[in-house]
């Protein structure tokens, strides 16, 4: 899931300073789960904006925002609200915001959220980054722990010199991921796997910006 965080309301109001009529767009998927852009948050935002003297000319929670063709269709019902607005406030992730930008070409669109990472929901309200979308999954050895996304330095061959008492030098709230890998391999009786050198990643696999399409039913071509 894409984990997002609410921007402070002051920052949002500051961005919207010169606009009075606002249209709000939320998202049913990740932003709903992150509690940053579901029905409830969109309603709260509407109240906050109105309290600050704005006019909210319409709201919609798209299912999800990042599906371009679907959102195009779904937004057709809101054309009058959108055209009446001076600016849009997008309560989805950075991707959703740009999808919206492709549909609504002539209005400024402001983000209500900061997009953090692709992560796991550990439990309600607790998220942890799990994947950097590097383009070639390292987890083919059955490890199920990605050192690239879960180590700030992306160490591929064991802990760095800063790991202390099993904790990360960069964030002491985090366990060093290489200690987790060590313990997991030990449990599986596969400690010798730790001796295998992981070669530097091939970043040419992932060309940014990337575009993929399904051809004859297979999603594997990059243009």
């Amino acid at each position: 899931m894409i984990i997002t965080k609410k921007k402070p309301i002051e920052e949002i109001l500051n961005e919207l300073d010169s606009y009075e009529k606002i249209f709000i767009v939320g998202c049913t998927l990740c932003a709903t789960a992150s509690k940053t852009g579901g029905e409830e948050e969109v309603r709260e935002m509407k109240e906050k904006l109105e309290f600050s003297g704005k006019r909210v000319v319409g709201t919609v929670v798209l299912d999800p925002v990042c599906n371009l063709q679907k959102s195009k269709l779904d937004l057709k019902k809101y054309v009058s609200g959108i055209s009446e607005s001076e600016a849009l406030l997008c309560m989805a992730c950075g991707n959703g915001l740009q999808t919206l930008g492709e549909i609504v070409e002539d209005k400024p669109i402001f983000p209500a959220n900061d997009t953090l990472f692709l992560g796991e929901v550990k439990r309600f309200g607790v998220f942890e980054e799990r994947c950097l979308q590097c383009g070639k999954c390292l987890l083919t050895n059955g490890l199920a722990i990605c050192p690239l996304s879960r180590c700030p330095k992306g160490m591929l061959n064991g802990p760095c010199g800063g790991a202390k008492d099993g904790l990360c030098e960069v964030n002491q709230d985090l366990k060093c991921v290489w200690m987790e890998i060590y313990e997991r391999l030990k449990r599986m009786g596969r400690l010798s796997d730790l001796k295998k050198i992981n070669l530097p990643l091939d970043y040419s696999i992932k060309i940014r910006p990337g575009q993929h399409y399904v051809r004859r039913g297979v999603l594997n071509e990059q243009t």
């Binding site: 330095k153 061959n157 064991g158 760095c160 010199g161 060590y182 001796k195 050198i197 530097p200």
Partner: protein, 290 residues
């Protein structure tokens, strides 16, 4: 040819020391320290943005050392450079006379004085060693041929004898050796038993080991070292000596000298690596105590 390699291979007790380049372009004090230590140590190890703090480059510091007729060890971290920059700097270093390279992943930017910097970490320490080894075989990391005679580096890496569980550190050392490391300098050790245990563990590895020494400067610095260096333990006795000393700086140097003498007398390691971290001018006093 690396004189450091020659000395270590000869079996003679080897001493290296670390000097941090200045935060600025004036190298006069740096040069002064080199002159103070000239002829007294076997190699000068130049840090590469230690503690993720922006300083004059390791390469430039190494050139000052070369200009004084001494031998440098260039630290190369992966924090600030991708594989293209690392390889081109390695080639440049070799062309300018640098023979010893110490590969380090590097401290994270948020720990330093430019916390907003974008970290790179394209290569970790093992990756840097692989890149250097590849250059030594006449090819870059992608396999492209190099022109002319390939560089001939003496490659080093770091290890921490205090790391727990030591098994993890030993496996990482094996990987570094496989990637080309021939000498290791260790994180600071204050306990001869820790050093002994560690050396026993690595006795099968075909490497040279320089045990790390950080002279204590005060009781506070002892606490700082314990906090900063993963796993490091400073004994009650050493702490008491630091507390009761009339001149803690001298006491710290004495403690370091005693440890170095023990290492030397027992043939425990192939040498020591002194890290004075800003107090490089006290290193000659320490050397005189040996």
């Amino acid at each position: 040819m690396s004189k450091l390699k020659e000395k270590l291979d000869s079996g003679k007790f080897t001493i290296t020391a670390e000097i941090g380049p200045p935060k600025g372009s004036d190298v006069s004090e740096f040069r002064e320290i080199v002159k103070l230590l000239k002829g007294k140590i076997d190699a000068f190890n130049v840090t590469d943005g230690q503690g993720a703090s922006m300083k004059l480059s390791s390469l430039a510091g190494c050139l000052v050392i070369l200009s004084e007729g001494e031998e440098p060890v260039m630290q190369m971290t992966g924090r600030d450079r991708n594989r293209i920059a690392i390889q081109s700097e390695l080639l440049g270093a070799y062309a300018l006379g640098i023979r010893n390279i110490l590969a380090i992943t590097g401290d994270y930017p948020t720990l330093g004085d430019n916390p907003g910097a974008k970290p790179v970490y394209d290569l970790d320490s093992v990756g840097i060693l692989l890149a250097a080894s590849s250059l030594m075989k006449g090819r870059d990391l992608a396999g492209n041929l190099l022109k002319g005679e390939p560089p001939n580096f003496y490659l080093g890496a770091t290890a921490n004898p205090n790391f727990f569980p030591i098994e993890v550190e030993l496996i990482k050392m094996e990987k570094k050796i496989e990637a080309g490391a021939r000498f290791f300098q260790t994180q600071a050790v204050y306990d001869i038993n820790v050093a002994e245990r560690f050396m026993k563990e690595v006795s099968n590895f075909n490497i040279k080991v320089l045990l790390g020494i950080i002279p204590l400067r005060s009781l506070k610095s002892a606490q700082f070292v314990s906090k900063m260096i993963p796993g490091v333990k400073i004994s009650e006795e050493v702490l008491r000596r630091m507390e009761n000393a009339s001149d803690p700086k001298i006491e710290g140097l004495k403690i370091a000298a005693e440890l170095i003498r023990k290492v030397k007398e027992h043939g425990l390691a192939h040498g020591v690596h002194i890290m004075a971290i800003g107090a490089e001018k006290t290193v000659p006093i320490l050397l005189d105590m040996l």
